[in-house]
Each structure stands twice: as C-alpha cells, then as structure tokens.
C-alpha cells in the first residue's frame, strides 16, 4: 500500500492506508530542540530523508 502524507495544524503525518505510521508535530533537530515546522515543504523535505526507516504494517506472518 502506498504511503501518503498530510500536514495539518503544524503536524506532519505519514500514513499507510488509514494508519498513521509517522506522527511529527515538530521539526526534530540534532540537539533535541523541538522547533515548529516552517511549512509543509520543510516537513516533506525532511520526510524524504528518513522515510526509508519506516516499514510495513499489519503484515500477515508467514508460516512454514
């Protein structure tokens, strides 16, 4: 299922179908300071750099 994103009220979210897999209400920094997102474009650019870290959801476990 394709991953989609949305940006509402300063919070960025990535979704797998209806399921929120990333909930990011602030811009993360190297120091831990939690800075407000400047805009959706900034959040989208950040997502592009980290999206490979997040995997699938609701997978049926394989069995022998």
């Amino acid at each position: 299922m394709a991953i989609t994103t949305r940006f509402n009220d300063g919070t960025f979210e990535a979704l797998n179908g209806e399921k929120v897999i990333v909930y990011q209400p602030f811009k993360p920094t190297p120091t831990g300071d939690q800075v407000a997102w400047a805009d959706k474009a900034e959040a989208d650019a950040w997502w592009e750099t980290i999206k490979n870290m997040h995997g699938v959801v609701d997978e049926t476990p394989p069995s022998e």
Binding site: G32, W46, M53, V56, P61, S63
Partner: protein, 571 residues
C-alpha cells in the same frame, strides 16, 4: 566449573537454552534438560523441537556460532571476515538494550499469560542470503511442544524487547543480514504473531532499545552505518505503544568525522533520577583524530532528549592522540557492515561515574585485522571520569589499556556484576576477566584458555560459553568469583632466632577475582623445619578466613633458616 558438554554427534544442535520460565530452574544443553543449580540431567525432559526445525538441523549456524538462549543476555564473539560474512556486525541481546537491568532483551521470554516464546534463530550468511528464524510459543512447559510456531527468513523476530500486556502487544527485533535491522511488534501475542508491524525497518542501520518513558512510549536510538559523511549519525525515535506511530525526537546527531568506517555505538544508560537518564555516543571528531562523544539526557517524564557535545579533559598539554589513535579503515565495507565497533560502557564506583570506550572486533584474527590494529595507539581503549551532577558532559582522562597484539583485541564484552566493574572479555585464543580499579583502571585478573563463539549469562550470573575446540561444539560454564588470591603476611618482616622459641602470628586473607575479601576455607602448609602452627603443633593447619577483617593464625618459630607457607583453598 569448566567444560560441561561436548557435542560429537551432531553439528547442528542448539547449544544452550535456559528455560524462559525461570521458576522451572532448568537449562537445556543440546536439547537435554538439566537442573540449573546442580546440572544434573532431568530424566525425559528434552526441549521439544518440532518438525519445522528439520532444515535447521542441517544448517551450520549452530556450529559456527554456538547459539545460546540465556536470560541475562548473550554476546556473539566471532566472525570470520571483515564484513558481509558470518556474524559480522551483529548486535546480540546483551547490547540491544541500553538499559538491560530494567529492559532486558531476550531470545526466551515468559509472558504474563504463562506462555513462553523462544527464538530458535540462525544467523544470516550474507553471502548466500540465508536466514533461518523460527519462533516457538509453548504453554508452560517447553518439553511438551509448541502451541504456535512460525518459520521464516525475515518476517519473525530474533529476540524480544518488551511485553506490553495493557496494549496486547509484544515487541522484538529482527537483525538478519548485516544490512537489515527491524523493530517489530505484533498483537494477540499469547496465541501467535498477529498483525505484525515494523515501525522502524532499516537497511544499513542498527536500532538500540532505550526503554519506555512515563507515558509508555518506547524509545530507540538508531545508528546509521552507511553515510558518506559523518558516520554513525544517531536518530532517537519514540513509538506510540498502541498505534505504533513513530515520532522523531532527535535527528542527525553526529560529530564531524568523515571517511571513517567506525561503528560508534551508544553506551548503556545511567539513571541519575526519575527525570534524568543519561547515555553517551562514541563519536569521533575530524578524520582519525580524537574521541568526541555526545551526551544525551533523556527525561522520561516529558519524553524529551537533549544532546550536548562532551568536553574532553586531559592532563597538561595531552590530547586523545597522546594516548591512543582511532583505528582505521582496513577491510571496511562501503556499507559499513564491519566486524568492529566501539562500545562505550559507564559504571559507578563509590559515587563517582566512569566511562570506558571498549574496542570490539569479532574478526580481529581474520581479514585485515592485523593492519586495522597495527599500532599500540589503535589498540588502546580509554577510560574517563564523568563530571559530577549536570557537568556530566565533561569527561576527564582516567586511565587506558593497550592490548598487546591484534589477537588480544576484545571480540565481545559481557558485564559480570551489577556494578559493571567486572567484564568477561573473549579474545582470539581465550577469555579474560577484567576488573576496574579506581586508581589504576581496568586490570586483567584471570584468563580462561578457551576461544568462544558465544558467551552469555544465566539467571544465577553464571557465564556460559560455546566453543569449537572439540567435536562440533563444546559448552563451558565459567565462574570467575572463586577466591583466587591468598595473602599470608607475617607480623614482622624478619625474625632473629637466638635459641628460644618465638611466638608470632600471620594474617591470612582470601580475595576473589574482583579484589574483594571473601570468606574461604584455606589450608596452610609450612615448607621448612624451623616453625610450626601453634594450634596444631604441626606444619599443617586449616582456617576459615573472614570477608571483613584479617584472620590471624598463630605460629611458633623454633629454629633458624628459611621457611615458606604454602596456601591452598577448598572450593
């Protein structure tokens, strides 16, 4: 206790499985059950491997790695090449958790509902892409067979991180090929693996479990391995306990070093207070320059983490380079699937915190190990005193250990006591125990002459090791806390015999391998003809030493010449 089992019959038996239901006090050695205290065989009690293991029994994982399941963690300590080969770069259960005493990671896990999970897991040969993972769930008794099992290459976890009964979730990790690393969670865990999610699922990265905050979020440090600059960048994430949505708390945390294929793993967590948990990175600054860690302060009450660069302090004009050198890139793989890493370890002695930056190389004896560790500077590990209070980002040089040769480089690390001041350290050719001394630093206290593929601790703090010196594999149990040192000190440094008997005393003490005075039954024998033990009026006596004060023995000198006292211990 030394060697306890030699497997000559099969090359594919799981070496040791401690019963996840610890109350059963049972350990399976090559499938056969034993009483965990006495190691007496338990009649007709065998781990119930099922048909699904048919392919496992033909695989050589068990020979190569001597796999074990032990409740206080296991440590892989062997690889056969610089990268992309058996076991290189694998992080086993002991080092998956930064807070192991409070959040242990295990391959055997007893659930609140009375079931037990076992990850009967082979490791990956990255060259062939093989993975062999099997999950068993048993109801109460591992000798009676599974209620559920799932075998798969990459879809089931290697080990279990956390059981969250309130959200009906189990958490675990999968680490297969040197490039894969996944945090996994599933629901309905008492019956099986249902609706598996992989909130963190990365190539070229390693995830470390920090524990949970006060709101129930699970926190992880992710170390990125294949950067083209600023190697070992850290990301800290928190995962919602029910929705599994991920929020990044810290991103892109690093120091500035390039062209340097080091795995700079995080230290264990120190709990200063209910609102302050602290750990450190092992980053470097500059190219082959200086150790420059980052301090991370996690407040579990609000979920925040603050990062600050450490200030490194040395005597006079000294620098890191005065004492040590960062090891270099010989044998490094582009994706950093390498067998070596830095493993920082912090501990507390008498209210003072220390941190040692251990160097680990599972393949030191293979590939480019000899050039990677070619100088004494590269083979030197550093220990620092941590500043007090909130000045704990100031690290002051304390001491160093230089490993004599490439074969002396640690292949792994296993803390042996709660204080963290005693380490079991496998190396090429054997196993050593190191003890920390606040004046002189880490000192080697004893050696066990067997080279291990895996070591681990059971619930009784016994060290187990799987090796390959005989048969398909050999199992050892090693207890490092025997009274190995006996001290006998006469009341005076010299005596002048003038024809009259001299009554005097000697202080007798026994010390264990950590240097602590212990109670022991000591046998003393006089070698010489000029004195006797007063109480027995003979050359032999026995006494029980105290663990708190000198134990005195009376001696009568009745002649001149040289006399020695020979001591031995009844164990």
């Amino acid at each position: 206790m030394p060697e306890v089992a030699v497997n000559r019959a099969s090359n594919s038996m799981y070496a040791v499985i401690e019963d996840a239901n610890l109350s059963k006090n049972r350990i399976f050695i090559e499938g056969q059950g034993y009483d965990a205290n006495t190691l007496s065989p338990l009649w007709m009690q065998k781990y119930h491997f099922n048909h699904a293991e048919s392919y496992i029994y033909t695989h050589d994982n068990f020979v190569e790695w001597g796999l074990m399941i032990l409740s206080k963690g296991v440590e892989s300590c062997w690889g056969n090449g610089d990268s992309q080969s058996y076991n290189t770069g694998f992080v086993d259960t002991r080092w998956r958790s930064l807070d192991f005493p409070n959040f242990p990671v295990r391959r055997g896990w007893k659930t609140a509902g009375g079931r037990s999970y076992y990850s009967i897991t082979g490791r990956t040969n990255a060259n062939s892409g093989d993975n062999f993972n099997n999950i068993h769930i048993v109801a109460d008794d591992a000798t009676l067979g599974t209620t559920y099992q799932s075998g798969n290459s990459e879809g089931v976890p290697n080990a279990f991180l956390f059981e969250d009964s309130s959200n009906n979730r189990m958490w675990g990790f999968f680490s297969g090929r040197p490039d894969f690393d996944r945090i996994m969670t599933w629901t309905g865990y008492e019956s099986g693996l249902n609706s598996i999610s992989r909130p963190l699922d990365s190539q070229w990265q390693r995830h470390f479990f920090m524990g949970r905050d006060d709101s129930g979020f699970l926190f992880f440090v992710t170390v990125r391995l294949n950067d083209t600059a600023h190697f070992s960048r850290y990301t800290i994430s928190k995962i919602h306990p029910s929705s599994t949505a991920v929020t990044t708390v810290i991103s892109d945390s690093h120091r500035s070093y390039n062209n340097h294929y080091m795995r700079s793993y995080p230290s264990n967590i120190r709990r200063d207070s209910a609102t302050r948990r602290v750990f450190y990175s092992s980053h470097f600054e500059g190219t082959y320059s200086s150790l420059s860690p980052i301090r991370y302060v996690w407040n579990p009450s609000d979920g925040s983490v603050a990062a600050a660069n450490c200030t490194m302090t040395y005597a006079g004009a000294d620098t890191f380079a005065t004492h040590a050198a960062a090891y270099s890139t010989e044998g490094a793989d582009y994706y950093n699937r390498n067998s070596w890493n830095m493993q920082p370890w912090q501990f507390t002695v008498s209210g003072t915190n220390y941190i040692t930056f251990w160097i680990i190389d599972r393949s030191a004896a293979f590939g480019s190990g000899s050039s990677r560790w070619s100088s004494s500077g590269k083979r030197t590990m550093m220990t620092y005193t941590i500043g007090s209070g909130t000045n704990d980002n100031v690290l002051t040089y304390h001491s160093k250990v230089t490993f004599a040769s490439v074969n002396d480089i640690p292949r792994g690390l296993m803390p042996m006591n709660d204080a963290g001041t005693q380490m079991a350290v496998p190396y090429t050719g054997g196993l050593r125990f190191y003890t920390f001394n606040t004046t002189t630093g880490w000192e080697m206290t004893s050696t066990y002459p067997t080279e291990f593929r895996m070591i681990g601790l059971d619930q009784s703090n016994r060290l187990w090791g799987a090796s390959r010196e005989k048969g398909s594999h050999t199992i050892h149990v090693i207890t490092p806390t025997l009274p190995i040192t006996i001290s006998v000190v006469m009341a005076d440094t010299s005596y002048v015999y003038t024809g009259n008997s001299i009554s005097t005393t000697a202080n007798v003490n026994a010390y264990n391998s950590t240097g602590d005075r212990v109670a022991a039954n000591v046998s003393l024998t006089i070698d010489g003809n000029g004195m006797l033990f007063t109480s027995s009026n003979s050359k032999n006596t026995t006494l029980a030493t105290s663990n708190s004060t000198n134990t005195q023995v009376s001696i009568t000198i009745s002649g001149g010449g040289l006399n020695n006292i020979i001591a031995s211990v009844d164990i």
